[in-house]
């Protein structure tokens, strides 16, 4: 009787865990997408700020902080086992984790430089570096899949 209860509990626990994992993997795709779209919005805002020709430290810092937060969240959305969560991910994300992490580190570093910009030229340089970091990572770790 006790054994049966134990077996059933283990079984139920297994179901809960595996369905939880499946749910998490299923939710990762949309979560990645919305996080990345949020980053895009901030990068666009920064580019618009540079184009406006008027340096605005508060706006730059606000976007840079949002990007840093977004990047830190995005980093957690590619755990081991989530290879099939969405289209557009290169297997290298999971086979070359060191390279993938390095790209994130560069992007985070760039967002700190954006936040620290003191004038338009330094902001432009930092925003360009930031954009280059997005591009460089996507060239390697994102696949053409639409």
């Amino acid at each position: 009787m006790n054994h049966g209860l134990f077996r059933n509990s283990v079984f139920a626990f297994g179901i809960v865990i595996s369905s939880g994992l499946a749910l998490a993997a299923g939710a990762l795709g949309p979560e990645r997408e919305s996080t990345m779209k949020g980053l895009n919005k901030e990068v666009k805002a920064l580019n618009a700020l540079v184009k406006s020709g008027k340096f605005n430290a508060a706006k730059a810092k606000s976007s840079a902080t949002a990007i840093e937060t977004g990047l830190n969240h995005a980093k957690t959305l590619f755990p081991l086992g989530s290879e099939k969560a969405a289209k557009g991910t290169a297997p290298a994300i999971w086979t070359d984790r060191a390279g993938f992490d390095e790209k994130f580190a560069k992007a985070l570093e760039a967002s700190k430089a954006v936040a620290a910009a003191t004038d338009l030229p330094s902001l432009k340089a930092a925003v360009d570096t930031q954009g280059g970091a997005c591009k460089s990572c996507h060239e390697t770790y994102r696949t053409a899949d639409y």
């Binding site: 666009k44 930031q130 954009g131 280059g132 997005c134 996507h138 696949t143 053409a144 899949d145």
Partner: protein, 327 residues
């Protein structure tokens, strides 16, 4: 009942068979002979039809080279994207800005190594004539009279004005020469396949670009850059079973030529709200993902977008203007 032949000795049987032979053998001989003749004719015809068609120097237009135009079209064509050294070679010290021969392209025929196109006399194209360069770019014919494998997108460059091709040649000749020997491709039966490409070209080569007088000069400039030097269709136009771009589905997207993923359609970009308007599309082409635009780096587009970012703004706007009208 036992057949008579079964009772006869082997020698008798052979004689009997021989006596009936001519009746059977003659039609077979005729069929075999005719087939051999037809196959021979087909091979000879194929050999004749697949012969490379080089450009005669006398047929070239009189032209004073415009280096600036050459640079623009070299950039639009993204020559350096394929012909630059491999990442490993760049890491080892090779100049990544010069087209001294690149990493292999994976084609259905096997890996193809983009050769050194710097003006080095020994290993590049420094010794080439104008006719040789035009022949390569617009007919896919090498100076020694062979067919190039169409991973080299001469199927698009064939649409270009010959004067523009000559300007690219002049610009390439102004670059620093790099001594970088060619890398052999890894294609099975390469000589036979190359000859076969001659037959393929008979149906695959497009007509030169013809401006549409109903459209603006800007639209026509964009259409020319996209379909000629830019060779956008090499990836964005789906191919048929013969690996020829389907003109009816021009720039409609399809499977990625690398074999993985898909290439997006360039039709109805504004209507589908991928971009808000022509200016937005222009900015997207100029800034790519660095400007917060999605889908501008993966599948090789990152390199193409980098090249676009180096084009004069008017040319990028012309491209956006043309693309925005694709339905």
């Amino acid at each position: 009942m036992i057949h008579k032949a079964a009772l006869a000795s082997p020698a008798t049987r052979r004689t009997e068979l021989r006596t009936t032979d001519p009746m059977v053998k003659r039609p077979i001989a005729i069929v075999v002979g005719l087939t051999a003749v037809l196959v021979g004719l087909a091979l000879a015809g194929g050999f004749w039809l697949s012969a490379p068609n080089p450009v005669a120097a006398a047929s070239l237009p009189a032209h004073v080279a415009d280096l600036q135009n050459g640079k623009t079209l070299y950039t639009a064509g993204g020559c350096v994207s394929c012909h630059r050294p491999s990442p490993a070679a760049i890491k080892a010290g090779a100049n990544g800005e010069l087209p001294s021969g690149g990493a292999p392209l994976n084609t259905p025929l096997g890996p193809v190594f983009p050769p050194n196109i710097t003006p080095d006399k020994a290993t590049g194209i420094g010794g080439w004539t104008q006719a040789a360069f035009v022949g390569a770019m617009q007919r896919g014919v090498s100076p020694n009279g062979g067919h190039y494998i169409p991973a080299f997108p001469y199927t698009s460059y064939a649409r270009m004005k010959t004067e523009d091709v000559l300007d690219i040649f002049a610009y390439i000749n102004s670059l620093a020469p790099v001594n970088s020997p060619r890398h052999d491709n890894a294609i099975v039966l390469e000589p036979v396949i190359r000859r076969g490409i001659g037959l393929w070209k008979l149906i695959a080569m497009p007509a030169p670009f013809a401006p549409d007088s109903a459209q603006s000069a800007e639209w026509n400039r964009g259409a020319y850059l996209v379909n000629g030097p830019g060779h956008c269709g090499e990836c964005h136009t789906p191919r048929n079973a013969l690996m020829i771009g389907q003109s009816a589905k021009s720039l409609e997207g399809g499977p990625h030529p690398d074999g993985k993923g898909t290439v997006p359609s360039l039709h109805r970009l504004i209507e589908r709200k991928v971009f808000t308007d022509v200016d937005d599309l222009t900015t997207a082409l100029q800034e790519g993902e660095g400007g917060g635009y999605e889908h501008m780096s993966s599948g090789g587009m990152g390199d193409a977008q980098t090249n676009l970012s180096h084009l004069p703004e008017a040319d990028v706007k012309a491209i956006a203007t043309y693309l925005s009208t694709l339905r």
